[in-house]
């Protein structure tokens, strides 16, 4: 991934990382809701390096909507940077309000996550619980943020003005491999609102995306679920190459193996919140 070196000044980044260190010291010990994504990986490593091994704890909530590939990344980063990890299972799919997949689905997911994670953190001696929400997220439609507020989960990265770009720069400076990882929201985000979330559908999406990764697609990638049809979104820079008939056949075969009978390639390519646009939740 190319990083715009001029978009973030060294002074700005230094000021933000200093502010984060001060915040962490003031609120230690700290438990981090940890997924292994770009944001929470940075926050976990920063907390570990600022506070020491015993005053930072990364907690992973595992469920069917959490890709196995990301779980592996989370554990790898934690091991590499000596971050203590605790794992627990969450059961959001057992909540019919979540499974019905309303537009505020994330609220029910995060309510389940934090209602399990926060008491565990407190019982382990970590009164402060944080998540990796960043400043860019504040302008997006994020019903999960309400659940975080209700459970008194703090978002220091957003609070201190860290954008995704700041986090990528800071991660690269610390040698965290996720600095160039594409954003990775949960698998349920691939289903249109109103389409029931089931373990089978999540598994189908996960298999299809994993198969495409094996073909060498490293950048942004989503397999959007439209019942029998999988709509693949690739980074716009990759599109032309995959419109070659031979490569189209390879792509189709890979996605079909996951159980989709029809495969389509989005002509605009990847865009965050694509299904929100399709269903009128946000603006195209």
């Amino acid at each position: 991934m190319a990083l715009d070196l001029d978009a973030v000044s060294e002074a700005d980044l230094a000021a933000k990382t200093s502010a984060l260190a001060a915040w962490l010291h003031a609120n230690a010990p700290v438990a981090i809701g940890y997924s292994g994504g770009v944001d929470s990986a940075y926050l976990a490593v920063a907390a570990r390096q600022t506070l020491g091994a015993d005053r930072a704890l990364a907690i992973i909530g595992r469920s069917a909507s959490y890709p196995a590939e990301q779980w592996a990344t989370a554990r790898d980063v934690a091991q590499r940077f000596d971050v203590k990890v605790l794992e627990l299972d969450t059961g959001e799919l057992d909540d019919p309000r979540y499974a019905a997949n309303p537009s505020n689905r994330c609220y029910y997911c995060k309510t389940e996550l934090w209602s399990r994670l926060v008491p565990v953190a407190h019982s382990c001696g970590f009164p402060t619980v944080v998540d990796g929400t960043n400043a860019d997220d504040l302008s997006d439609y994020r019903p999960g943020a309400q659940a975080a507020r209700e459970h008194r989960v703090a978002s220091p990265l957003a609070e201190l003005g860290f954008t995704k770009l700041h986090i990528r720069h800071a991660s690269r400076a610390l040698g965290i491999p996720t600095w160039q990882q594409p954003s990775s929201p949960c698998l349920s985000s691939r289903l249109p609102y109103g389409t029931e979330v089931t373990r089978g559908r999540l598994r189908q999406i996960e298999l299809a995306e994993a198969a495409l990764r094996k073909l060498g697609i490293a950048g942004d990638l989503r397999v959007r679920f439209h019942e029998e049809l999988a709509r693949v979104e690739l980074a716009p820079t990759e599109l032309s190459a995959w419109l070659d008939p031979e490569r189209m056949a390879v792509l189709t075969e890979a996605v079909s193996q996951a159980g989709f009978t029809r495969v389509a390639l989005d002509l605009r390519g990847f865009r965050s919140g694509s299904l929100n646009v399709l269903h009128g939740v946000s603006i195209a």
Binding site: L229, R231, P245, T252, R262, L278
Partner: protein, 91 residues
Amino acid sequence: MSELRGERTSRNAVALAAAIAELGIECALEARGGLALLLPTPEGVAALQVDESRRAVLALAKEHGFTHVAIELPSERRRSSTSADAPLLRD
């Protein structure tokens, strides 16, 4: 000639199919809500490899009320399953 199937909504799928054909891109079109699903001929696929053509199709789709455009990729499974399907609606 372009073909049209799927739902008929306030989005103008018929006009979109005709407009795409005017660009010289041969394809059938299936409307699925805000998604315009194109089923191009091999010549249509070749045309869509060009960035400019894709941009033109995307602009036309937006103009006709669609938020997304995708092309269905050919597959053996699809060919065998469509043989028993209802016939395509023609424009």
